[in-house]
């Protein structure tokens, strides 16, 4: 392209192998200052390996990393790598007990003969924050009082303050709300305009189109596409990511959507929520009522703290509430008694699979059947591994879980497969109601299709009521109805798929006066 400069950072012919698995094969990418390169690929395509190699966490088997044309520092020289490139990870790396200023200058504080120069540090932190348009972050505030968005800015500011002009953003929007994402995009654009080179890793393709100048696609460890985003269509990008089976994905998502409407109306009520009020750190609820019928697939939408998570968790028996009632087929759900809700037939896919979804050290089969041990156990309560594997295998088949065996520890599998196992557990109980929270977060496109198809078939084929609490509008393709919460109240309900994204976002953000069909 027009840019003839030496790249700010480049990876040249990188290959990397872990045991018998080839993670990367001769991958070359280059980051140029003033451009944002999107890096996309399905889970297991090699994105994180490439990021780790480019930030000096592992060495490559073959190939090299160069910064401004110079060879990269030695592998163990963390300081030297940090001076050249900064990675902002998905999980926050700020120290919550310290102030913003201290975090910005963590380990590089201005000091006079070893003593911190607080005044200079605060002033410089303020200046850096203002300079890059992060003025809404108070340099004197404790990081523990900041929002997720602000913490992320502190991390970015840390990199910029140290004069680094090469940033790797690893799924930076995964914890942000919509408005925050927009602001992040603006900031990324302005950083890029000021000559920073950015590598932007994301699962969300529309983000790539929005902020990236170029896009590189990894598939099975190989670079299959690298070109400017201008003139590229979303379909082309998806094809590159998925290879030959793009048709498959479209095929799985659509039949579910076509069917809806007809059967849903005939089902009897399964989940009945009446006048629920709750206060929870996840968001309060004020007098929420909701009904989900057998065979119906309902999505709950709302921004963070709007009460979506609280309502979904309450229906699964994981939350407490102060008034109101929840029934599943006439059976009362008891606050904070997940075990009783399970017996009442409520399958549950928790919001964060890492902290709530599964036990890393236990096998695929054991994780998948954890909800049905009572059924698998014999008279003395013993669960024989053979019986467990036999119960797990059809689940693995139904969700196309790929593992070496039913006893392979789940921690060793890819995120998509872990999420499938978490969903398998809800499927295993032959649920009357399934509460799925962000069921497709952080998984690759193909897994997403399987997960959505499975949830959909639970409703259409098995007659379960399906309640999906999500922030990913793609999940709505399988839904018959969308209920939007804002500040703990139902503000809008959409009953006619396909749903209009702009109307939905408007209702979520409260941009338009409460929506089309008010509940």
């Amino acid at each position: 392209m027009a840019n003839e400069d030496v790249p700010a950072a480049e990876a040249i012919g990188i290959s990397k192998q872990f045991g018998s698995t080839v993670a990367l094969r001769g991958v070359s990418v280059s980051l140029r200052s003033g451009r944002c390169l999107g890096l996309v690929g399905r889970n297991g395509a090699g994105k994180s390996t490439l990021v780790s190699i480019m930030s000096g966490i592992y060495g490559a088997d073959r190939g090299e990393v160069r910064f401004e044309g110079q060879p990269a520092p030695a592998l163990g020289d963390v300081q030297a790598w940090r001076e050249r490139i900064s990675t902002v990870f998905q999980h926050s790396m700020v120290v919550p007990q310290l102030t913003v200023a201290e975090n910005v200058f963590l380990n590089t504080q201005p000091a006079r003969s070893g003593f911190l120069d607080w005044r200079t540090m605060r002033a410089e932190a303020k200046q850096v924050l203002a300079e890059w348009g992060f003025g809404n972050v108070n340099a004197n505030a404790l990081c523990s009082t900041l929002t997720v968005e602000q913490r992320q800015l502190v991390e970015i500011a840390r990199a910029l303050a140290a004069g680094r002009r090469c940033l790797l953003l690893d799924e930076p929007t995964s914890a942000l709300e919509r408005a925050e994402i927009q602001r992040l995009f603006e900031r990324v654009r302005s950083m890029v305009a000021n000559g920073v080179a950015v590598l932007y890793i994301s699962h969300h393709l529309e983000e790539v189109f929005e902020v990236c100048d170029d896009v590189a696609v990894l598939r099975d460890g190989e670079l299959v596409m690298s070109r400017p985003t201008a003139g590229l269509s979303q379909d082309e990008l998806v094809t590159a990511m998925v290879g030959q089976d793009t048709a498959t994905i479209a095929g799985i998502e659509r039949p579910g959507a076509k069917d809806n409407g007809q059967r849903a109306d005939h089902g009897k009520p399964c989940l009945v929520v009446e006048h629920l009020a709750a206060s929870s750190p996840r968001g309060a609820l004020r007098d929420v009522s909701l009904e989900v019928r057998h065979g119906e697939r309902v999505a709950l939408l709302g921004s963070l703290g709007a009460g979506v998570a609280t309502l979904a968790r309450a229906a699964a028996g994981c939350e407490s509430w102060s008034s109101g009632r929840i029934e599943v087929e006439g059976e009362l759900i008891v606050p904070l008694r997940r075990d009783k809700a399970l017996k009442a037939g409520v399958g549950y896919v928790p919001e964060d699979r890492r902290t709530e979804g599964f036990v890393r050290l236990l096998g695929v089969g054991e994780n998948a059947t954890m909800s049905i041990v009572d059924r698998l156990a014999n008279a003395i309560g013993a669960v024989m591994p053979k019986r467990r594997a036999a119960a797990a295998r059809p689940l693995a088949e139904r969700l196309s879980i790929v593992s070496a065996s039913m006893s392979q520890p789940l921690g060793e599998l890819s995120g998509g497969n872990q999420q499938k196992v978490t969903v398998a557990r809800a499927v295993a109980i032959k649920p009357k109601l399934v509460v799925a929270m962000t069921p497709t977060r952080g998984v690759d496109v193909a897994s997403k299709a399987v997960l959505l198809a499975t949830l959909s078939s639970l409703a259409l084929d098995d007659g379960a009521a399906v309640l999906i609490a999500t922030d990913d509008l793609d999940d709505l393709v399988i839904c018959d109805r969308v209920v939007v919460l804002r500040r703990g109240e139902v503000v809008a309900e959409f009953t006619e798929p396909p749903f209009d994204r702009e109307e939905l976002i408007g209702a979520i953000e409260g941009l338009v006066p409460s929506g089309s069909v008010t509940a």
Binding site: G19, E356, V359, V373, A382, S400
Partner: protein
Amino acid sequence: MTQVSSDKETTALAQAPSQEGGGRAAAEAQLQQISRQARALSLLREASLLPAVVLLVVVGAIISPVFFTSANLWGIGQQASSLAVITAGEALALMIGSMDLSLGGTYGFAPMLAAWLVVPAADFGAGVKLNAYLGIVMVLVLGAGVGLVNGLLIVKARLNAFIITLGMLILLAGCQDGVVKGQTISALPTALWYLGFQFWGPVPVSLVAAVIVLIVVGVFLRYHRAGRAVYAVGGNAEAARAAGINVDRVKIGVYMAAGVLAALGGLMEMGRVQAITADQGYGEGIIFVVFASAVIGGVSLQGGRGNMLGVATGVALLSVVQNILDLKNVNNYWVEAVYGLVILVALAVARLIGGSRSQT
């Protein structure tokens, strides 16, 4: 359905890219082989301490002619058995990601209380002359009771396990001292010492009992739904809760089981020395040895990992070391120091061999 299986194929290929074009069968065969290798490796790690134990036995045989006699080896077995039983209890508490310091107190107080209630007043008893078999039941019930109290305070009242069980440890040790005013009860009826002292031929009964306990606990952990729940709760309590496991009940059950095992271990130790002193348990600092043997045996302090084979090897290792030190007549003032050093070396070695196993 066809789309689903074609997806499966591509994902399998993504994970085993060297099989490109080889199709799903080949990719899965390769995955299966990797898993077999992994399992063989993990078995090797499970037994990683066995060479160390064997090495110690050889060292023992070289430095002391008495060591490699059957009487001495069975003797080691008898000495190790009470430690093995209480360590099994501690291992359970560690595996749910908690700990129980009070096991050291139960180990002394439960047999002391039973002996005090059983023996006549003239032998420092309480004078109530409880039936000796009821006394044994008392020992176990007390262990379960202490565990229940610990469990309720930790799980229901959400108090810190370290502080609660520390307080309980000191309380129990104080009671142990208090009921007999620091005296030693040695005039025990047969029922109270049989398990710890008797031999069947060359075989100590206590060793048989300890092996049975470890096997029962081990099989329970491996195959029983409640045993599997222990691993699930220890590995990720939130996930276990989300899967419908009653986490609180599992935890309280583990504290109770640990208490029972500690009390049983104490009963065996009382039998072995044919007496119960005010020092047994807390006074001799048994809890530190218990922690050391559990961790040397590969039980994770973070929870979710550990098994009874590991516990057995950890206990065997420390018991053989203890025996060698006894036989070599190491200066009494330095015995503890040498023992401590061995523990540190054993932990370092276990970490090296076990790799990530003991790390998490």
